[in-house]
Amino acid sequence: MPTLVRNGEVTEDSWTYDVANANTPEAGSILNIEDFTKHHAGELHGVRLEGSVEIEDIIDQVKHAALIAISFSGFADGRGLSLAVLLRSRYDYLGELRAVGEVLPDWTPYMLRSGFDSFELPDLRAAETAIACMQRMTDHYQGSVSRPSPRFRRSSD
């Protein structure tokens, strides 16, 4: 059972994955993009995207989703990071952005700074490690989704 970290804490997950392929998907379920589109799902649903998706083509369909889950396939695949950055900074997506799939604790600081606010870790131990990892570095040089101003635009030391 994956363990969810949201906003820096281990949290009970209220979302479910819709695997039944029901005619009327339940509120609070995460659908794949085909079902999400077919059912004109929106504010009550989530949608799961692959990192490789061409977001420009589907942004109008997914921008009202309450949650977008981005799947990391293979832990060295950084496409989901660019996708998250685009959703947050270009398309002003304000819903929950969740990292799913191969999410390892040491990767979560990158994800956090690229705009994710929740993370599905394999178990509680990994979730606790991820929280520690995300708190480790005090500051960074460049701007990011979580802190758009680079250091050089802030007050100097």
Partner: protein, 552 residues
């Protein structure tokens, strides 16, 4: 050189603590081998054939004397008392213990050094002209742009998991000593009549299995746009670069598949969103970083032509050394000295702890405590008084760093090869050594003139064989080590990729083939024509005939 501020220092320290924690969790079995590989690579640690290898970052090849002394000390304490100058201007240790790497990184952090992003699929150490800031032919000092890019790319949240490694090089001189044409991004900095600096951006150059010369995709980029434009390139690459085959994952493959024109359009479309965002550089920041590269307070001196003339007449080794290893400085009375690591019997780029200490001492005594590492794997002392040259030469000879062969055939660029590297198909160091021994006569070497001999032990091309005037590539032929020879490569202005001369040679035949190639050159050249110019004029055929004529 750039001095760390409080934040730079804190950042490096936190990165050491982070890596120590990762190592502890790995050794406790909490991180898998595959996952830890990615983490250790981002801190420069490879697991090699015989032992781990730690690649220490030397940002754009500039290092201070206290820093070099700490590396010498580390090589004594944790290693076998030597290090290796790499073709990306870094320093590698070949024998550290995995368990001790966090301690090594902690020692490095004490003097503002690290191994961040010296390997792995991320933006690597940005490189530039090893004479930046001092050479007489310099138009723009590229180091501030390198430092801005270093800071921007360090622990970048979006671009640390790219399809493959990513190398950026900058040049601001009329001679391109940074090989910008064969980098993922190559940037030429130049001045326009207003006095402002603008940047020309090349993308998709590279060596490896598919050597490509980079394509120019933007001219006249303003300084303030440096980071946002590079960000746009990286985003296009991160999204669309191939991830299914690591040999097709570099940006050059993407640029070629899209065509440079379409790639440029994609980048421009992306950049439109970024150009005026918070990532755009401010005048204050550009000035702050430029101010950390202000020249030292030089003494008002005159050039020492007559003193040097007398000294050179009396000592023919010194004469040869001045001719090959000393370059013109922008400041009157000073010179730039290259200390060659290329002595027969020593793997190119290998330096002992004693040599490192000596170079650090010389940089204090004969300069301002600064040392450079060239991508040709030599040390450079950037600010030597002309009147001190002879004294420095005598000291360098005693430390086996006085070889007068910079830019000549025996100044071989060479990867560690099959002796150390688990990727290599063949050994490279013994091949370099045999050639160095064959051509040990200085007068003959000098007569051959400028000649870049580059040797790689496999097609990953760490020895940059494609851009050697003569390139040697180790290949595996049914389990035996063979060597492919190419001619006509060049890394500087008017860069070109070498062409393969013909069937590969057994190890025993390599040196003999080089002798034959050089015989063809000597008999075909017109007046002072260099090897490269001669090859470009007469083409491959005469060389082919010369090498294979009696081979049966």
């Amino acid at each position: 050189m750039y001095r760390y501020n409080q934040f730079d220092q804190q950042f490096v320290q936190e990165r050491v603590d982070q890596y120590r924690d990762q190592t502890t969790r790995y050794l406790a079995g909490e991180i898998s081998d595959d996952a830890f590989q990615q983490l250790r690579l981002r801190n420069g640690l490879y697991i090699q054939r015989l032992a781990p290898m730690l690649r220490i970052a030397v940002p754009y090849g500039t290092i201070s004397s206290p820093q070099l002394k700490v590396i010498a000390e580390i090589s004594r304490n944790y290693d076998k008392g030597y290090g290796h100058l790499s073709t990306r201007q870094n320093i590698q240790l070949n024998w550290p213990e995995l368990e001790e790497v966090p301690d090594i990184l902690a020692d490095l952090a004490e003097v503002g050094m690290h191994a961040i992003q010296t390997s792995g699929s991320c933006v690597r150490n940005v490189t530039t002209d090893h004479f930046a800031g001092v050479s007489a032919d310099e138009e723009v000092d590229a180091r501030p742009y390198c430092e801005l890019l270093r800071q921007w790319s360090t622990y970048h949240p979006e671009f640390d998991w790219l399809p493959r490694k990513f190398k950026i090089a900058l040049n601001g001189s009329s001679s391109d000593r940074a090989a910008t044409a064969v980098h993922d991004i190559g940037i030429e900095a130049r001045k326009i009549p207003s006095g402002d600096v603008v940047l020309d951006v090349y993308v998709g150059g590279g060596l490896g299995r598919t050597p490509v010369i980079g394509s120019l995709i933007r001219t006249g980029l303003a300084e303030r746009d440096l980071l946002t434009y590079v960000e746009a390139i990286l985003r296009v690459y991160n999204r669309y670069g191939r991830r299914d085959n690591k040999y097709k994952a570099r940006i050059k493959i993407l640029v070629r598949a899209m065509t440079p024109q379409i790639f440029r359009e994609k980048v421009d479309a992306e950049w439109e969103h970024l150009q005026d965002g918070p990532g755009a550089l401010t005048d204050e920041e550009i000035l702050r970083v430029k101010n950390s590269f202000v020249p030292p307070t030089y003494t008002d001196l005159n050039n020492e032509e007559s003193l040097l003339g007398t000294q050179r007449l009396k000592n023919r080794h010194f004469n040869a050394w001045v001719e090959n290893n000393v370059d013109a400085h922008k400041q009157k009375g000073y010179a730039i000295v290259t200390l060659s690591t290329k002595t027969p019997g020593v793997p190119p780029g290998d330096v002992t702890d004693i040599q490192m200490d000596a170079v650090a001492d010389w940089s204090d005594k004969y300069g301002y405590g600064e040392i450079r590492i060239s991508h040709e794997q030599n040390f450079v002392l950037p600010d030597v008084r002309q009147s001190d040259l002879l004294e420095l030469f005598v000291a360098a000879e005693k430390q086996a760093l006085g070889a007068a062969n910079v830019g000549l055939l025996t100044d071989v660029v060479c990867c560690p090869g099959g002796d150390y590297c688990s990727l290599a198909n063949a050994k490279s160091i013994p091949v370099a050594e045999e050639i160095q021994r064959q051509f040990d006569d200085y007068d003959y070497l000098h007569d051959l003139g400028p000649l870049d001999l580059n040797i790689s032990g496999c097609m990953n091309a760490c020895g940059h064989h494609h851009v050697g005037h003569i390139g040697i590539l180790g290949v595996d032929k049914k389990g035996a080590e063979f060597y492919q020879i190419s001619l006509g490569g060049h890394a500087g202005n008017n860069a070109s990729l070498g062409e393969i001369i013909g069937p590969s040679f057994s190890r025993a035949d390599v040196t003999g083939s080089i002798v034959k190639i050089l015989d063809v050159y000597i008999h075909s050249r017109v007046q002072d024509e260099t090897f490269l110019d001669c090859y470009r004029r007469i083409g491959m055929q005469p060389f082919k005939e010369g090498v294979y004529a009696n081979a049966g």
